[in-house]
């Protein structure tokens, strides 16, 4: 074997080690689109909340049915935002994978998904428990903390920068615990703003050159 072949062997080894352990197709645009869905959702939620409190003020009394309607509408909205964010996020990541001639669904994609899903499922069950016990004010901080931990967990299998997003989300959730009535603002910052900032930074760092 010649020197050239040895170098080629080392390059192959390095490429395969990286390619089989990290999902690198995650697009910054996925973060931006998820953040925009989050902000739109927060805006709609705020309109509904204002409407709810105005009705409370004008009628002068707390209404149980009003509260229950609001609660279910907000849960439905949260699910719709999640679906929109996932759909848009998947689209941009699929596009990036295709541009780089990489499969979108492989060993590494599966690892990212499973390692995000485990803490998220735990968080989902935890939140169901909070709702069951009428601890609605704790929902927003709990979402942020579990989501942050889920991302930190998945960061081992994708772009390592994702870790910082996870840390920010977790801290934001904990801070939210000390400002309980401001959950929606923390939600908007965590799921909207942070995603947009993160997505823009990632796009700038990894994708800018290829697009221009």
């Amino acid at each position: 074997m010649t020197d050239q072949q040895h170098l080629q062997a080392i390059t192959d080894i390095k490429r395969l080690m990286e390619r089989s352990s990290r999902f690198i197709s995650l697009s910054g645009l996925s973060g931006i689109s998820a953040g925009i869905s989050g902000l739109i959702g927060a805006y709609i939620a705020r309109m509904w909340l204002v409407e709810y409190y105005t009705r409370w003020e004008t009628s002068g009394a707390y209404s149980d049915t009003d509260f229950r309607t609001l609660k279910y509408r907000l849960i439905a909205l949260a699910l719709a935002v999640l679906a929109a964010a996932l759909a848009a996020g998947t689209f941009f990541t699929w596009r990036k994978a295709r541009q780089n001639n990489l499969p979108i669904w492989d060993l590494t994609a599966r690892k990212v998904l499973i390692n995000t899903a485990i803490p998220l499922a735990a968080g989902g069950a935890f939140i169901a428990g909070l709702l069951f016990n009428h601890l609605e004010t704790l929902v927003a901080p709990t979402c942020l903390v579990f989501y942050g931990l889920a991302i930190i967990n998945a960061s081992k299998y994708t772009l390592p920068d994702v870790r910082y997003l996870g840390i920010c989300e977790t801290i934001l959730g904990i801070v939210n615990l000390f400002y309980l009535r401001k959950g929606l603002y923390f939600w908007a910052i965590g799921f909207g703003l942070l995603h947009i900032i993160y997505g823009a930074l990632m796009w700038w760092k990894y994708e800018r050159k290829k697009t221009i």
Partner: protein
């Protein structure tokens, strides 16, 4: 010392070297994932996996997902040692032939 003597003959094949690279960083990988990662055909991959198994570098685990067979591969301690030795030899050769 002759550094070429340290290069492992088993790893002369790019596919076998590729299999070992993937298994170094993943606990367990199934046949289809290996095939997708290395972009090779079934038969080709199977024969290289056999060679690696015969050398004691791979552990093979035959399982089922539903009715489909799901064969997974993991690296053995001997495989890890051999791979690292091969890498060191490659590195050595590049350093000292310059």
């Amino acid at each position: 010392m002759n550094p070429i003597g340290n290069l492992n003959k088993v790893f002369e094949s790019r596919i076998r070297l590729g299999v070992m690279s993937v298994l170094m960083v993943n606990e367990e990988v199934n046949f289809n994932d290996l095939k997708q990662m290395l972009e090779v055909t079934d038969g080709n991959l199977a024969s290289h996996l056999n060679t690696l198994e015969e050398n004691g570098y791979l552990k093979v685990h035959k399982g089922f997902i539903g009715r489909k067979t799901n064969t997974t591969y993991a690296i053995t301690a001997a495989g890890e040692k051999a791979f690292k030795g091969h890498l060191a030899a490659l590195e050595h050769m590049i350093k000292f032939t310059k």
